[in-house]
């Protein structure tokens, strides 16, 4: 069979193939990605869309957790000062129930109890990032106001917000004041005011003052028990954060195994392509330059 005399096409095609392989390997090495356009692996590219959206969500959940955590911790530490003040009020009340005190002393104690009430009111109207954290969802105005007759009134609501902190997992992020300070039958402000009134009333017996202290204890217990929400939510956020960190690592690994390049393979491919190219060029150089024509003058003599 007659062999095609025109080798240049074959050589060009071979060079083109090795050039392409070299380019692909180089691109993979420089980007670290096996899939640089969807056509490199359509299924992997489609998967990356989903993985990358999950990774982004992970980052956002982390940001949300961090912002909720600061708010919850601020609220909790404020509540702590309220709790301390209430403990003080309880011991003041207990002291006041001691029958040996003069009315003057009882009045002084009542004044201190009123100071505690002011302090707790300040805590209950805590504002963080422009919102009143104990107002339920009606958080644009202070939840507790003193009405014309001197009583502290709750004008917040019972609303609770939930924030998604992981896919499909939401946590409540606030505790309305109606659960903390002004729960029905366990109102801190009413109890404090009752105690102060009992202390100030010269007709009050030790028994009356003792009853007011008991009422205050009830309100105190409600507050401390409702306050545990903050600690336990912060704990939950922390453990979710740990889970998200793991998930982030896992997703990154998945992303890498889906679209990332195996460096060893890419380097080998690059070397092979370079060798193939060099071999082709060498072969081409030695092939095309000699024909019988070159010897004609010699033969002719």
């Amino acid at each position: 069979m007659r062999v095609s005399p025109q080798m240049s096409q074959i050589i060009l095609a071979a060079l083109n193939t090795s050039d392409q392989a070299e380019q692909t390997a180089l691109q993979q090495l420089t980007t670290g990605r096996r899939v640089n356009q969807a056509s490199d692996d359509p299924a992997a590219a489609a998967q990356e869309v989903s993985i990358s959206s999950q990774l982004n969500a992970c980052d956002q959940y982390t940001r949300s957790i961090s912002s909720i955590t600061s708010e919850l911790q601020t609220a909790d530490s404020s509540l702590n000062s309220a709790v301390t003040a209430l403990q003080q009020a309880i011991s003041l009340g207990t002291e006041g129930a001691n029958g040996t005190l003069s009315q003057q002393n009882r009045n002084a104690i009542a004044q201190q109890v009123n100071d505690v009430s002011q302090l707790v009111l300040g805590v209950a109207n805590l504002s963080y990032n422009g919102v009143y954290v104990f107002a339920g969802t009606a958080d644009s105005q202070p939840p507790y106001v003193v009405d014309s007759s001197g009583n502290v009134q709750y004008q917040g609501n019972d609303g609770v917000n939930y924030v998604e902190i992981a896919s499909g997992q939401s946590v409540p992020v606030n505790q309305p004041g109606s659960q903390l300070f002004s729960a029905s039958g366990a109102n801190v402000f009413t109890a404090l005011s009752d105690l102060a009134n009992a202390l100030q009333d010269p007709n009050s017996t030790s028994q009356d003052i003792g009853n007011a202290v008991t009422e205050l204890r009830g309100a105190y217990d409600q507050l401390t028990s409702a306050r545990t929400f903050y600690g336990s939510t912060v704990d939950q956020l922390q453990s979710t954060q740990d889970f998200l960190n793991d998930e982030n690592v896992q997703l990154s690994q998945q992303q890498n195994s889906t679209i990332g390049v195996d460096m060893n393979v890419a380097v080998t491919n690059l070397t092979q392509a370079e060798q193939a190219r060099a071999a082709t060029v060498e072969a081409a150089a030695s092939m095309n330059n000699i024909t019988l024509m070159d010897y004609l003058s010699n033969i002719g003599q």
């Binding site: 074959i10 869309v49 949300s64 339920g136």
Partner: protein, 456 residues
Amino acid sequence: MSGLMGTMWMALNALEAQQGGMQTTANNVANLNTPGYSREVPIFQEADPFVQGNLVFGGGVDLEGIQSLRDNLLDMQISAETQQQSSAQSYVAAMNQVQTLFPSDTTGIGQQISAFFQSLNNLSTNPSDLTLRQGVLTAAQNMASAFNDTAEQLISVRQQLDGNVEEQVQQVNQITQQIANINAQLSAVSSSAQQYGSFLDQRSELVQQLSGLIDVSQLNDGASLTLTTKQGTALVVDGQSFSLSTALASDGTQHVYSAQGQDITGQISGGQLGGTLQARDQTIPALQNQLDSLAGGLVTALNTAHQQGTDLYGNTGNNLFLPNTGTGAALNMALAFTDPKMIAASSDGSSGSNGNLANISAVANQAVSNGMTPSDAYGNMVFQVGSAVSDGTSEQDASTAMLQQLQQQQSSVSGVSLDEEASNLLLYQRAYEASAQVISTINQMLQTALNMGAGA
């Protein structure tokens, strides 16, 4: 004729024949790199013998003609493969542009959809915060812009392909006219075999060029050649060519019409035109539909969720996006308002509630387009575009390899080999020298014979 004079004539004939051979070699070498050239060989034939008594003497050599070496079957296979290869090539080129519009990583629609849902989660931590609300509007605007841009780019790629169609049809017309001219000349040329050969070479080269542009079916009847598209639209019949034309059709694209005015746009399957039309009329419109379906589905679902809430003014939520659906939904996707206070985040009417944000966020996991979530629907488009390019590239590679093989085969039949021409050159030279030697010898013999007469 016999005798010394007869022998001399025979040698002279041989000289001419070898010269003809030499000329053929010269022509072959001259056309070493001419595309479409088929090597030629001289056809030597024994001349008629003459009989003298019981003896039959050979009559020397005749140069019968010069034959152009070509394989018509190979030509047709190459033409068919060229149609496929060019079609795949122009399809891949077009879809490669489209592919860049559907990135899978950190840009594009997928990224913006995910960023929008993140901004909602961010707002849920402090639903009355105006900065966070503005963040949601910005993310929503970015998402709409991503849809707008992608839809615009798809339209612009189609327009560009439209321009290619016009250009390619013009090229088809130029080539068919040239082929018709050659057909006309061929029917006029009667005898000269060598001229015939170079006409065929030219025509064959033009048919290959035409195959790169459009699907061609050829009917070869000796010198005449009839070319039609695969579906039978006449392109060249003997000395007459039939021009195709393009005109803007009601769908806003350039359609291709036969010389008789028939719309053949949907019939063209091969060559650059075939690939261009496949991308322009099938793959890209299908993507546009899906993009519109995703945009429309997303807008409808987000609006429905948004309307369940209350904004910072205490009003029930309006549309978040302009309610565009169907064709143009992606191109016209736009926010319905720019006031961040109008985001209906609240589910209980109070400003601090974030309850409705959960409803809006839930759209991320709802089937909004062809039973798929927004992110999956986009991923599916990435997959389709990637597959289109990847399949097209495989087809192109396979075709290219096949074509190279066929061209090598053709070259093994028709290609000029310098080795071969050199050895032929040597043969003709030697034969020429030998024949000249014969003449010179006969000349001496004649001289001897004449001297013999003079001496007697």
